[in-house]
């Protein structure tokens, strides 16, 4: 399945936006580990902005960045959201409340607990009524989202924004689900070349385990391995280099995706 890429958005530890991240991936700038910078989207009305957690902030920020570079209207673009678990802070608060005598769950926390919260806020923020789905595949959520985006483009021949995000969990969930950093990544994918496309991705699903492509820099490989959405980094490194490269992503415990990245 061949996809054309129009835009990238990224927010990770020491990785702030695609432009700056590209220079790090090319070795033109040093990688400096720092907490992920979170910006609240100005697209949301103030009342909604106060209600959102880290995952929604990540999703909105990287989604907006991917669209900004491509001059495409998010209101007319389908979306695939993918996350290994959504808002862990919110789940923690609800579980604490339910373990207390009163069990008075906050209505806002409850509606924010749905896995498609980011998709819902994105729809409110951008005004899009286009099809949207919200996927979870644990550590392999980015690859599963990319597979779904590829199948949508192959079947429907219309643009898709893939938005992947994961959040560090608070204790005590942190001990049972260690995630090293907050990380979001967005790819704006279209079915054919446009004035803004700069790479193609040929995506194929393979049964059987395969070794995932690692990052050149050990510090970045630690980021890749430390947060599920960070599994996208080898694909971004291939994009930054502007050479043809086959990237392997694990897509489940015993299957993988092969993504051939090529400049165009």
């Amino acid at each position: 399945m061949r996809l054309w890429l129009e835009g990238v958005g990224i927010a990770g530890p020491g990785l702030c936006g695609w432009h700056a991240t590209r220079t790090v991936l090319l070795g033109e700038a040093d990688y400096v580990h720092a907490p992920t910078v979170l910006t609240a989207s100005s697209l949301l009305p103030a009342a909604e902005r106060r209600r959102i957690g880290v995952p929604v902030k990540l999703a909105l920020a990287v989604g907006c960045e991917a669209f900004a570079g491509a001059a495409r209207d998010p209101a007319s673009t389908a979306t695939v959201f993918t996350s290994s678990g959504g808002d862990g802070e919110n789940v923690h608060q609800i579980c604490e409340t339910l373990a207390s005598a009163e069990r008075e769950v906050s209505p806002t926390r409850f509606h924010n607990s749905v896995h498609n919260a980011a998709a819902g806020y994105w729809s409110i923020a951008t005004g899009t009524r286009e099809p949207s789905t919200s996927i979870c595949a644990y550590d392999w959520s980015f690859a599963a989202g990319l597979l779904e985006a590829a199948a949508q483009i192959a079947a429907d021949r219309s643009p898709v924004a893939l938005i992947a995000y994961d959040q560090q969990y608070p204790p005590p969930l942190k001990a049972v689900r260690p995630i090293d950093s907050n990380f979001g990544v967005a790819l704006l994918l279209v079915p054919g070349p446009t004035a803004h496309t700069f790479a193609t991705l040929d995506v194929s699903f393979g049964s059987g385990a395969a070794k995932a492509t690692a990052m050149t820099l050990p510090a970045l490989d630690a980021v890749r391995a430390g947060v599920p959405a960070g599994r996208s980094l080898p694909l971004l490194e291939a994009l930054a280099r502007r050479i043809e490269q086959a990237v392997v992503l694990e897509c489940g415990a015993a299957s993988h995706l092969c993504v051939v990245v090529a400049p165009c």
Partner: protein, 386 residues
């Protein structure tokens, strides 16, 4: 499988005889004045021994569902035909095994706050647990992921299967949805004032909210074949949309709902007049039913019979979509449109043709609606094959 029974025959019989699965809530330690559709026997079973790490209420119900109607045997037969790596698993849940986390939080270490060692996050609480469990249970090797878009989740997976087959990634797919009772949804919907104090009455003038149920439903989707066997139902159209309005309240004019239905009809190449029966989302809240009614009336007028079966099953949340697709298939198979019980007095402000009683008659094509939090809408069109 749900509070109405195990398997197609029991559920069809329950619908035919107007039996409800709803009863006053006695679940766990919950003290709420509401009715639920609870599945009996889940506390006294465990999942298959080789998958014991996945043992939780949600996966137990998944296993019970997979063993209904010879489903796992049908998948095994398809695996022989297509190969295990050519069959995908696209299943849905809204809360997965969150009940395990809710219980674990009652037993935190008093000093460190740590959760009990027995709590297994990845194989129970995480949403992917369901997909992982189903794939391993059935011994499949194709792509697997979980869709979790609140109450539209298990309608959306039909679209995933259709696209994976159309794009050549799979030849067949297991789709489905499983959701089980937990404190998060019971106390959460209660906090929004959306829990009914009676068995929910969709479209009734006195409707006062939802009744939560639990259930599992699965379907095996295969690529188009020259050979059409009797009993095969065709997935004719898929339509998804967003509301772009509010996280927990539907668009008042039903804009998103209408778009989803229009897209499903367009993808099926059908007109509204081609639909014989609509299985509504029909949750029984004031705003949901009013919004859906407006969308249905504007598209279909007051002629197309429709009903909600949530007063029989309860609202199965992430399992509602697939369950109502299966009920729609039963409507086609048995030539019977189920009445939308226990509704008595249809709200005079709602203008669609809501059925109070079962109605016999040939049904060739059905539209099924599923709408969820976040303004996530999904409509499907199914039809008799051949």
């Amino acid at each position: 499988m749900n509070a109405l029974g195990a398997g197609k025959r029991e559920i069809a019989e329950a619908l035919r005889s107007a039996r409800t699965g709803l009863a006053p809530c006695r679940f766990e330690t919950v003290e709420l004045d509401t009715f639920v559709g609870e599945v009996a026997g889940l506390d006294s079973m465990t999942v298959r021994a080789d998958l014991s790490a996945y043992d939780c209420r949600n996966n137990r119900l998944a296993q019970r569902g997979l063993e209904c109607d010879g489903f796992s045997a049908a998948v095994e037969s398809a695996a022989g035909q297509y190969g295990r790596a050519r069959i995908g698993v696209f299943v849905a849940t809204s809360t997965s095994g969150i009940l395990e986390a809710e219980l674990a939080y009652r037993h935190r270490d008093p000093t460190t706050g740590a959760l009990p060692l027995a709590f297994n996050y990845a194989q129970t609480q995480n949403s992917y647990s369901l997909g992982d469990f189903v794939q391993r249970y059935l011994g499949l090797e194709g792509p697997v992921f979980v869709v979790s878009s609140a109450c539209s989740s298990s309608a959306k997976v039909f679209g995933n299967a259709a696209r994976m087959i159309a794009s050549g990634v799979c030849d067949a797919a297991v789709v489905g949805g499983v959701d089980t009772l937990c404190l998060t949804t019971l106390y959460g919907f209660n906090s929004l004032g959306l829990l009914s104090h009676q068995p929910c009455r969709p479209y009734d003038v006195a409707r006062d909210g939802i009744s939560i149920g639990e259930g599992a439903g699965f379907a095996l989707i295969e690529k188009e074949s020259a050979k059409i066997e009797s009993g095969i139902i065709r997935l004719l159209g898929v339509g998804d949309s967003g509301d772009a309005h509010h996280m927990s309240t539907p668009h008042p004019e039903g804009l998103g709902a209408r778009l989803a239905m229009q897209r499903a009809l367009a993808s099926a190449g059908l007109q509204a007049s081609d639909i014989d029966y609509i299985n509504l989302h029909g949750t029984g809240t004031r705003t949901n039913d009013a919004s859906e009614d407006r969308a249905v009336f504007e598209l279909f007028g007051s002629g197309t019979p429709c009903s909600s079966t949530k007063g029989s099953t309860g609202h199965l949340l992430g399992a509602a979509g697939v369950t109502e697709v299966i009920i729609s298939m039963l409507a086609i198979e048995h030539d019977l449109m189920p009445g939308g019980r226990p509704t008595v007095d249809i709200d005079p402000e709602l203008r669609s043709r809501y059925l109070l009683e079962n109605r016999p008659g040939r049904i060739d094509r059905v539209l099924s609606n599923s709408f969820g939090f976040g303004g996530s809408n999904s409509s499907l069109v199914l039809g008799r094959a051949g």
